[in-house]
């Protein structure tokens, strides 16, 4: 019982979770803006920002999909102790965590229904770098335009076309966090 799967949770859960929730909310409300998220540490290869997001957004009632590289026994144990979220295949997932290159095709995730557009997956995507440069973003929450170093363009354009259905994305890198809701237009810079 000396492994690190038990440590790395929030030190002061109510306050830390509130701060993290505010950051997550701002990230989705202002696509392209980069927030900082600290206070949590999950086993490798999860970034601190992604760990804090998981602790804040997931609980025992939110099925979580782990991409193959993230699906390690250590991370499963960490999730079991701190969150209790069931691990599921993509088609049943409310949240998904993984590297962009490691995720299965996005068509495999639920995009919600016309009656319940919220019954879709929120993907937490780990990137090697996250900067305010690259793809041009426009739409709700962006005054003129914003830029974000997205890993691709076409899948996000296709996702925008599904609106009001579709997937929502968080991008994490170290302690940085950015959001891309389904309502944002994505173009080449």
């Amino acid at each position: 019982m000396r492994d690190d799967t038990l440590s790395g949770g929030f030190a002061d859960p109510p306050v830390d979770a509130a701060h993290a929730f505010r950051a997550a909310l701002s990230a989705l409300a202002r696509p392209g803006r980069i927030e900082t998220l600290t206070g949590a540490q999950a086993p490798e290869p999860v970034s601190p920002a992604a760990a804090a997001l998981l602790l804040t957004l997931c609980d025992a009632e939110t099925p979580l999909f782990l991409a193959p590289l993230h699906d390690t026994p250590a991370l499963r144990d960490w999730i079991a102790f701190h969150i209790g979220a069931p691990i599921t295949p993509p088609h049943a997932a409310q949240f998904a965590l993984g590297r962009w290159s490691d995720l299965p095709p996005l068509q495999g995730f639920p995009i919600g229904t016309a009656d319940y557009p919220d019954r879709s997956t929120t993907l937490i995507i780990e990137l090697d770098r996250l900067t305010a440069q690259g793809a041009r973003l426009t739409g709700p929450g962006i005054e003129t335009e914003a830029h974000l170093s997205l890993p691709d363009i076409a899948p996000f354009r296709a996702n925008r076309a599904l609106f009001p259905l579709g997937l929502d994305f968080y991008f994490t890198c170290g302690t940085s966090l950015a959001g891309l809701p389904r309502s944002t237009n994505v173009e080449d810079a």
């Binding site: 019982m1 000396r2 038990l6 949770g9 030190a11 102790f81």
Partner: protein, 151 residues
Amino acid sequence: MTAQNDQGEARKRWMSLLAKSPPARLAALTRDMTDWPAFEWLRPPEVGGVMVRGRTGGTGAPFNLGEMTVTRCALRLATGEVGHGYVQGRDKAHAERAALIDAMMQTKRADALRRAVLDPLATQMQADKASRAAKAAATKVDFFTMVRGED
């Protein structure tokens, strides 16, 4: 394997005892202890509800008896032992004491701790239970039927 099972059984017993112990009792028994080991929180004490299930019918089907308040926490001693505290009620200090005792029962201090805290606690709780049962038994009414003389 058997040794591990025995250890698990023993831990189950003291966890059960700590979970059901009255907060004031445990606090009184540990008041003189000054050498609490250093520890770090894995999960700070938090209050929540759990569903208590029982078997009410003769068929043994589970039945939701009701919810009860539980406080839980987890901590790790500086020496590496992990202790969990699950106690009834919303007393966070009580949960911390229970988790500390659980962790310390895995160290060399186990025997001393068993003599100083767990055994007296078990005896007291057993005595409470017996005296309550005796009080209840005193109010027992035996019904019997006199000969009705119908002949």
